[in-house]
């Protein structure tokens, strides 16, 4: 089991060892979050690798990854705990049959730990032999403000209250990573408890490194061309610019098609992998992509 990184460089190396090329700012905030035991709040466009950090971290530290995917209507029974009602009812029937009429005892029997179904948040507060787990609260912006308010207790004290049992407190606080696509603003009260980081699109150099580590089979020249094209595409006036996930998908698609160089017609045929809005695809007609490709070629000659 790997230990918590002792420096920013170590944090950076930990991520790199597992195929995540982070820039210095991200490595710094991650290091601080691990050191100070504060949740890490990652915000950024879709497909820039927010969720991936938690996965890589779990792998790198050899911890268990517990994921809570947020959605509208997420409530306590699917995030924290639920009782096994069927088993509880049987317990009540048995008690009736055996003539137990002590209400307090019945209550204790029915709300015993064995009837408790643990959901991700409660799971994350429970001890684990591999060390405190990684709790990934994914796409927090998809749930509502009421759930955020509920998270406040969990994230500030790493404890939850179950009315029938009492307060459950983590012996060792989990490593919490929260992600948001920013489809709405998350409340300040929650952000205040976390270390905030805005994850941006990577620069060309880093994107190339990511592509190389994830898709090692692609020739060097094509990798460079793919990255230059995607970087240029992000400068265009698009509704949704492609993220790193799209770059990787596109590279995989091109490699499946045995592409060696980027041809305008090939780009036009596979543009659906990079751009997901019809307006954007129409805007990037064949002439436009040819112009961008030419621009890349010009840059390369100059360089």
């Amino acid at each position: 089991m790997a230990s918590i990184p002792a420096s920013i460089d170590e944090a950076s190396a930990l991520l790199a060892d597992h195929g995540y090329i982070a820039d210095r700012s991200l490595a710094t905030v991650l290091f601080l979050s691990l050191r100070l035991q504060r949740p890490l709040f990652l915000e950024g466009e879709a497909g820039v690798g927010k969720t991936e950090i938690a996965k890589v971290l779990a792998e790198g530290l050899g911890r268990r990854l517990i994921r809570l995917q947020c959605y509208e209507g997420l409530d306590v029974s699917s995030a924290l705990y639920e009782w096994n009602y069927a088993a509880q009812m049987i317990e009540i029937r048995l008690a009736e049959a055996s003539g137990i009429d002590d209400r307090d005892r019945l209550s204790d029997d029915v709300f015993a730990e064995k009837f408790l179904i643990r959901r991700p948040l409660l799971e994350a507060l429970s001890p684990d032999e591999r060390g405190a787990p990684i709790l990934l609260i994914d796409e927090l912006d998809r749930t509502d403000a009421a759930f955020e308010a509920f998270l406040l207790e969990v994230l500030s004290d790493f404890q939850v209250t179950i009315p029938e049992i009492g307060v459950v407190k983590a012996s060792e606080p989990p490593i919490v990573v929260i992600t948001s696509n920013r489809t709405r603003e998350v409340h300040d009260a929650l952000k205040r408890r976390c270390l905030y980081h805005w994850l941006d699109y990577p620069d060309a150099e880093r994107e190339q490194a990511i592509l190389k580590s994830r898709q090692p089979g692609i020739p060097e020249t094509l990798t460079r061309a793919i990255v230059s094209f995607v970087q240029a595409l992000r400068q265009e006036d698009l509704f949704k610019a492609p993220g790193i996930a799209e770059t990787l998908d596109w590279a995989a698609a091109l490699s499946e098609l045995d592409a060696v160089t980027l041809e305008p017609s090939l780009v036009a045929d596979t543009l659906g992998v990079l751009l997901k809005y019809q307006d954007d695809i129409v805007r990037m007609s064949e002439g436009e992509t040819a112009r961008i490709l030419q621009g890349i070629g010009g840059q390369k000659r100059k360089a």
Partner: protein, 393 residues
């Protein structure tokens, strides 16, 4: 002494009435409390007197500044403060802190208005102007407007209009459930919790989906041609934002998000913050580029969860009409409902002749006017999803 106390009680009643005009919510019970409190607390020190009345009349933090202003005006006028000062040797002055002082500057106009109304006599009703054009003051001509200087009469009118608002059907069903007497889903958790207490007997508890007003996104044109209406709309939105989630954007030649500024409780402070944030009041307008900015940078952040968009503009775009149609189309498809509020609609025989209006019209779900308070009430009907009122009503 008894007669004096009677006079004091009468003064407190008048004072309370003035505070009410200035916008504080004061019921008869609070007035009775205040009289009793003054009787109990005594009148020996000016500061005590201030805080005794404060404790009875001020229920919200943002009212404190208005109260302080009103207190100074009212009791100085009646010579009571001097009287008190004479009674004790060293009276600590109530020095407002710098921050409080800054805030108190804005309520001044409202308070002054309240007392002016009181001086004219209680029978005299405050005149209300229904057409907003006629309530404009001279300083509106200034390019950087001070919205905060709205008169109490206007605020009062806006408040009344908002109080009349009924939003009966503007509710969407959420995925979250809550306890309900006549629900559709069994609330097992509550049912089981009740079971041991009832000796094992199961009494079913029910749940129903929660219903909520969806967020409202207002995009306001503040160019020169719209200047008469944007202020009233801001008041309306401020009042609305006290009850539901409202995101407000202003555009002229630039595009700004004033949601945070508008979220201040005191309407004067909120509008002042808006005015300070936006550099282009009453300038030109570029609707297409404003909508483009919104679509590109904000739509994904604020249009989730079934938002309703209120677009307030006259649609008088000089160029870029081709782009305008495109951006309107995008906007119309990103939200649950797009309502266009256009003050030009009030003119009889209004026709969509301008190229900009023609380009925008096909993409909106509803098209309404905003020229007066009656029209604002109409907006509420639009939000509720009623059929559009006849044009230029």
């Amino acid at each position: 002494m008894v007669a004096e106390r009677g006079r004091l009680a009468e003064n407190i009643v008048i004072f309370a009435r003035s505070l009410r005009v200035a916008g504080l919510k004061i019921g008869p019970a609070a007035v009775a409390d205040a009289v009793a409190a003054v009787a109990a607390g005594g009148l020996s020190r000016r500061e005590d007197f201030f805080w005794i009345l404060h404790s009875s009349f001020v229920r919200r933090r943002e009212d404190s500044a208005v109260f302080r202003e009103a207190f100074e005006l009212f009791w100085r006028h009646r010579g009571l403060l001097q009287g008190l000062t004479g009674m004790t040797a060293a009276v600590p002055e109530i020095e407002p802190s710098a921050e409080e002082f800054a805030r108190s500057q804005k309520p001044r106009r409202r308070v002054a208005d309240a007392f002016a109304a009181e001086a004219r006599g209680q029978q005299q009703k405050i005149e209300t102007e229904y057409d907003m054009r006629e309530t404009q003051s001279a300083d509106e001509v200034l390019r950087t407007k001070d919205f905060a200087e709205m008169t109490a009469a206007e605020i009062d009118e806006a408040r009344k209009a908002v109080a009349r608002l009924v939003l009966p059907d503007d509710r969407v069903r959420k995925r979250r459930h809550m306890a309900a007497a006549k629900g559709r889903r069994i609330d097992m958790r509550a049912t089981m919790r009740g079971a041991p207490g009832a000796g094992g007997a199961m009494r079913l508890k029910w749940q129903a989906p929660r219903v909520e007003a969806p967020p409202l996104v207002a995009i306001l044109d503040i160019s020169g041609s719209m200047s008469d209406y944007s202020r009233m709309m801001l008041h309306f939105l401020h009042a609305l934002s006290q009850r539901r989630e409202v995101h407000t954007f202003l555009f002229g030649t630039r595009f700004s998000n004033v949601t945070r500024a508008l979220s201040r409780k005191d309407v004067d402070a909120a509008l002042a913050a808006c005015a300070a944030q936006v550099p282009d009041w009453s300038g030109g307008t570029r609707i297409a580029s404003a909508l483009h900015t919104f679509n590109r940078y904000w739509s994904r952040r604020v249009l989730g969860r079934g938002a309703v968009v209120l677009l307030v503009t006259d649609g008088l775009e000089r160029d870029e009409t081709a782009h305008l149609g495109f951006e309107m189309d995008r906007l119309g498809r990103s939200c649950r409902r797009l309502i266009w509020l256009n003050p030009l609609l009030r003119y009889d025989g209004f026709e969509a002749r301008a190229a900009g209006i023609k380009a925008m019209l096909p993409h909106v779900d509803d098209f309404r006017t905003v020229h007066n308070l009656a029209a604002i009430t109409d907006i509420c009907r639009a939000l509720a999803g009623d059929a559009p009122a006849s044009a230029a009503a």
